[in-house]
């Protein structure tokens, strides 16, 4: 399969780059893998990965749900948009560090503070994307649904969600990556476990193989989720698009 080929190419590129740059500047995949295996055998990798995944899942779900709802609302109602816009721009452009520090200051060095801070960081990008999606909705289909007296749930599932799907997919993919990046900062600044915590340690020791081993473990999880769940689902959901080839 092409995807596997490309993946192999990626590894090969890395290997060659490592060989050229020298293992101090970039450790080869084998070195990183060895570290990852050692960490996995000690159980530390799974512990930290688990903690991070739990935080990512919670913060992601929370921010996608609220962000999509707000974005939809702001895209549809001019009033909501006018009212929400300054807040949105502020939230968008507040540095992650600041939000996390403030959250920790207010809510203590707690799990709740961390997750809330992460969700708040991701929220506005979901809002911005879904707002565009809501603006692009086809009024002709709204009218159809109204004429045939579709109940709310049916409108949501059969009229709105399919139209918003590309926006949701974009917000989810880039959002997941954002959440993950911010989780790291939150863990770095004030959590006693998680990948970000370990990355902080690796960074202090300036241990690049360790840094890469932990960083890539999450990418590996996402790669698997994409291949096993998301992409088959997407293929099914977009069968109706008739693109040549």
């Amino acid at each position: 399969m092409l995807r596997l080929l490309s993946f192999a190419l990626l590894l090969a590129t890395w290997w060659i780059a490592a060989a050229v740059a020298g293992s101090v500047k970039l450790p080869p995949p084998s070195a990183v893998l060895a570290v990852a295996i050692a960490e996995a055998q000690s159980g530390a990798l799974f512990l930290h990965l688990g903690a991070t995944l739990a935080r990512v899942t919670l913060a992601f779900t929370l921010s996608m749900a609220i962000g999509s709802a707000l974005g939809y609302w702001m895209g549809r109602s001019r009033l909501a948009n006018r009212l929400g816009d300054p807040w949105l721009i502020l939230l968008l452009n507040l540095p992650a560090l600041v939000v996390i520090v403030l959250a920790y200051i207010w809510a203590g060095l707690t799990e709740v503070a961390a997750i809330a801070a992460i969700a708040i960081n991701k929220l506005p990008t979901a809002v911005v994307t879904l707002r565009e999606g809501a603006r692009a909705l086809d009024p002709a289909l709204d009218e159809m649904a109204k004429v045939f007296a579709f109940p709310r749930g049916r409108i949501l599932r059969h009229v709105l969600l399919p139209q918003l799907a590309p926006y949701i997919a974009a917000a989810a993919r880039s959002g997941l990556s954002l959440v993950w990046k911010i989780v790291l900062v939150a863990e770095l600044l004030g959590r006693p476990n998680g990948i970000g915590f370990e990355i902080g340690v690796a960074f202090q020791l300036f241990d690049i193989p360790l840094l890469l081993a932990y960083s890539l473990s999450f990418a590996a999880v996402v790669l698997v989720i994409e291949a096993v769940i998301v992409q088959p689902f997407e293929r099914r959901a977009s069968r109706w698009r008739l693109r040549a080839a």
Partner: protein, 236 residues
Amino acid sequence: MQLDVDISSKSYTSANGKRQQVIAGMTFTLRRGEVGVVVGPSGCGKSTMLRILAGLDSDYQGKVSQPAGARLAMVFQEPRLLPWRSVEDNVRLAAPDVAEDRLSAIFAVLELEGHRSHFPGELSLGLARRAALARAFAVEPDFLILDEPLASLDDALAARLREEIATLVASRPMITLLVTHSMDDAVRLGDRIFLLSSRPARLLHTVPIAVPRAQRSNELIAAIKADLARLDFSVS
């Protein structure tokens, strides 16, 4: 149960800021069992009127009292199917309670049996329009609005579907409003024909046809069409 229409004016503001009157005056009443047919030049405001009657547009001057509690079905001028749902799902979503045999019957009449599982993008325009008709038929409406339902179909099929509409109308006491450019359709299906002026649309003539639909001979139809042609010419 009846439909009272009294639209004194409807205007659009277009994106370039200009305001344009589209409906200048339209008053009529349709009773249960009646078929009203609206005929008017292209772009005069027919679809605009239908949108008002369907409750999709409330930005007009006047008053429309929709039949209370009536189940509405509409065939829009474009098919307006959900592209991500199969033909069958499109129909079932609008009419979740439709019985399987009735659905089969509708699909058979519209020659859509082979297309049940197709997505709208895989249909020809004529097929898509028929799917939209199937959706409206399946709803078993009390108030049926049809915006040029038989356009883009070949003559033979159009004639058959016209009969089908007549049968449907006869089978249930419903209010039907049909927009068409075909005088033939108008005279064969209508109980009253509303002739509109060009934009802004004004109700020019209301032509009642007293003879019941089933008893209209080809000669009668030709005679009425000739009458209408004279009327029509006198205004446009």
